[in-house]
């Protein structure tokens, strides 16, 4: 499976299961420029052809919940990596 590591000084990410999909809870410790980068991730998933690949829900204080369909999990993590929201990704057995 794909694992990732983030820098808790700038972002906080937790995962949980939601009916077989993966639900991310994302909170920003340092907003600039990471929040803008995160919006690029959101734009990427909202602009493609699939509507339910990753659904973004914004809450107060720039806290986000993202429900990611299990077949888009890797894509989502790689997008976070691309925009340097996570620092490391690695395949583990």
């Amino acid at each position: 499976m794909l694992t990732y590591a983030f820098n808790p000084d700038i972002i906080y990410i937790t995962e949980s299961n939601n009916d077989g999909d993966v639900e991310f809870f994302i909170r920003f410790v340092v907003e600039a420029p990471h929040l803008e980068k995160f919006k690029e991730v959101q734009h990427y998933f909202e602009d493609n052809e699939v509507y339910t690949d990753a659904l973004f829900y914004a809450y107060e204080n720039h806290e986000y919940r993202v429900i990611v369909r299990s077949d888009y999990y890797v894509e989502f993590v790689l997008q976070l990596m691309k925009h340097r929201l996570v620092e490391q990704v690695q395949w583990k057995e």
Binding site: E49, Y51, T52, R65, I67
Partner: protein, 426 residues
């Protein structure tokens, strides 16, 4: 019947059959048919151009440009989430508010556009509530067709009728069609709740997660939104006043569109032009030329005479015939070619002595627009929504849709018949 007329009928029927068979894209078929009408000399290019209703095309293009720019701003998502919060996260209430938003949106925008804007946000809300999106999507499909009936710009049949008959202004459409559209929607609400109530259960935690959402985050470009709203507002005011200003509706829509492009600059222009559905525009062009062949060879006039004979020139009989025929036809076929053919026929009936054409026009509009709710293939909005739902793993089958929608469509036509009879014919 002279040979030109027979040739015109033959071309028309072959093309129509090919459009129905859906083997080849309808736009290509309609354009080829139109070109054949010109090529075999039934109409010359000049006459064909004269029959193309450029007011309809200009109005469609103008509105498509305004909407495609506005959609970029995230405004529609904002409204949907805001409404879901106002509905306290209750699935039944959300179903009703989203349906009403769809109906109002469709009254002023193209139905397909409204559906394209509403369905993604519906997926997002229903996923969070862990309820099936299907009741939401089906009610939105139905609402988009009902809402589109209410105004001149809501649905292509109305645009075409409004363009062809200059006495029927924007205000006239609202005065005459909005009341019945509102009645139909109000009658539908309890029926929707009754039909779908079992699928609309959620937990208090999931409801509260809706309530904590921050809808302001959804606006992606605030400056662009103000510009779009200004242009959209001015355009709609323009529609209300178009007769007083002696402007036709295409002028109003295109003025709104290019005003918006002046405000937003040229980089939005390329994108906006790209988003105009040119295939639909050319479909219209082809159809207008096809029908021109029938008009110029007097086929339409003969059909009109026939219709008058059947109904004995009685306006009530003619209205009901048009209303029900349009509804049944539109439930199974594309309503655009049907209306394109009916318009010159009703005009001919006017020339032949029926002096009160108004009930006939409203019957055509109501039948053609509401009839689209009958089956999944009755309107483009239905097909688009079903396609989107199917791709995300929630297929809507032909039968599943028809079981709910066909009776609702018949009910709306019964209500319309009563409305037309009571308002115009006694």
């Amino acid at each position: 019947m002279e040979s030109q007329a027979i040739a015109a009928i033959a071309i028309f029927l072959v093309i129509y059959a090919l459009i129905i068979s859906e083997k080849i894209h309808r736009t290509i078929i309609a354009m080829v048919g139109g070109i054949i009408m010109v090529a075999v000399g039934i109409v010359d290019q000049e006459a064909a151009l004269h029959h193309i209703d450029f007011n309809t095309l200009g109005l469609l293009i103008g509105m498509m440009i305004i909407v495609s720019v506005t959609a970029e701003t995230g405004l529609f998502k904002y409204i949907a989430v805001w409404a879901a919060k106002k509905a306290k996260g209750s699935p039944v209430n959300i179903l009703i508010v989203l349906m009403l938003i769809t109906a109002i949106g469709s009254a002023f925008l193209d139905n397909v556009t409204t559906i394209l804007l509403m369905v993604p946000v519906t997926f997002s809300i229903t996923r969070q509530l862990k309820v099936s999106p299907l009741p939401y999507i089906m009610t939105q499909i139905i609402a988009s067709n009902v809402g589109g009936t209410a105004t001149l710009i809501g649905d292509p049949p109305n645009i075409m009728i409004g363009s062809a008959v200059s006495e029927l202004t924007f205000m006239a459409f609202i005065n005459n069609l909005a009341p019945i559209a509102a009645i139909v929607l109000i009658v539908y609400i309890p029926l929707f709740i009754l039909i779908f109530r079992k699928q609309l259960k959620t937990t208090p935690e999931l409801r509260s997660s809706i309530m904590r959402m921050d809808e302001r985050e959804l606006i992606t470009d605030r400056k662009l939104m103000y510009k779009s709203l200004t242009a959209l507002g001015l355009t709609i005011i323009g529609f209300f006043l178009h007769q007083a200003l002696h402007l036709e509706s295409a002028t109003v829509a295109l003025a709104g569109a290019f005003l918006l492009l002046v405000l937003t600059g040229e980089h939005t222009m390329e994108e906006a032009f790209r988003k105009v559905e040119w295939t639909t525009i050319f479909f219209f062009v082809g159809l207008f030329v096809l029908v021109a062949g029938l008009v110029e060879t007097d086929v339409i006039a003969k059909l009109a005479a026939q219709a008058i004979e059947w109904t004995g020139g009685n306006v009530t009989a003619a209205s009901m015939l048009i209303l029900w025929m349009s509804a049944i036809a539109s439930a199974f076929l594309d309503n655009i070619p049907f209306v394109a053919t009916m318009i010159p026929m009703i005009q001919e009936m006017g020339n032949m002595g029926i002096d009160n054409l108004e009930p006939l026009w409203w019957s055509l509009a109501l039948g053609a627009c509401l009839g689209g709710n009958g089956t999944l293939i009755g309107a483009s909005a239905n097909l688009i929504a079903a396609g989107m739902a199917g791709k995300e793993g929630h297929p809507i089958s032909f039968v599943k849709f028809m079981k709910v929608a066909f009776p609702l469509m018949l009910l709306s036509i019964v209500l319309s018949s009563a409305y037309i009879y009571l308002r115009y014919l006694i």
